[in-house]
Structure formats: C-alpha cells, structure tokens
Symmetry: C2
Subunit: 108 residues, 2 copies
Amino acid sequence: MPRPRKHVFVCNQSRPPGHPRGSCSKNGGTELLQAFWQELQKRNLYEVIAITYSGCIGPCDQGPNVLVYPEGTLYSKVSPGDIGEIFDSHLLGDQPVERLLAPKDIWN
Amino acid sequence: MPRPRKHVFVCNQSRPPGHPRGSCSKNGGTELLQAFWQELQKRNLYEVIAITYSGCIGPCDQGPNVLVYPEGTLYSKVSPGDIGEIFDSHLLGDQPVERLLAPKDIWN
C-alpha cells in the first residue's frame, strides 16, 4: 500500500449482545466498511485513498463512526448512502461533509 | 474520547495459518497493542494520545506495523521494547524514531 492522501478508518468494534455501550459493528459498521471498499474499487482509487477497519474511535452511541486522516475528521451515524458524497466532497475535494460531522462536544 | 494530538494505529490483522502474506497479529501485533495500552495507562495520557487497533495498513512481512497520525508515520517491526522511545521521542517530542521507519519504497 503506498502512502495514501486520505486514510479512512471505519470503526468495526464489536461488543457482546446487551453491552450498555453498544458498538459500531452492531450499528452497521461492518456493512459500511464493505460499502466503502466497494466504492474504492469502483472508482479505482487504491493509489490515493486507503480504507481500513479499526477498533473503537469514540462515541459508540453515535456509530457507525468514520475517521479521516490526516485532517482528523470524525463522522458519526454514517450510512452506505453517504459514501458517494464523502468521496466526492471530502476525499477528492477536500471539503468535509458538514452534516455528518460528530458533535463538537465529542470531537473538536 | 477527545480529539487526540496523536493517534496511533497498531495493526492487528489476522490471517489463517499458512497464509502466504502472514499477518501482524501472527508477528506479535496483539501483544504490541496491549503494551501500547499499558504505556498509555502508565503515563495517563488519555487526553492527548489515542491508541487504536486496525486492520491491514501495509507491508505484512515487515509487521507488526504501527501508523501514527496526523503526520502519517509508518513504523515497521515494532516490538514492545520500542514503545517507550516512541512515546518520548515522537508522541510527546514530535521527533519520529528514524530507526523504526518503514522502508521508503513501501511508504514515503
């Protein structure tokens, strides 16, 4: 993997059923990861964007969470339907998708 | 989790026994992650540094691999004995540990 211009971490933390914090995996994180990988493949952007799963990156009840580096942008409650906009606006256009940003009291 | 000044991703990718690429998990990535978390706890730096496990981030045969953002520094063949220096020099002192950098033909 070459050094990517954007590195997207998709939380796939799982926890036991009934755990009070829930988890991004339970909230759709695994399907979201697969959809990110499909979009990367469709656009053939392997040389410039990396998509990696990760453990917990923050607000579990707001998941699934997605963190983009190097700028350190945290998105919450991301669904597969948001991925096209994240690619177009942020990963390729450098404009974060405001409506998906995690609350500022959690991540600022 | 507040937004960290440094975010350390420790690869914990696993693969089936005998897989030709091997994996960071097989190369000690899981023990390394635990050691990073212990160091974070010992130094009580939860407000400024985040340690997160991740899926594959690159050169599996050079693992275990560790990736530090926002600067995007990739370390290879990291062992628990290197962690103190990574904290002192890089995570707190902003000077990457040169001897642990991944080869430039892999990550530049």
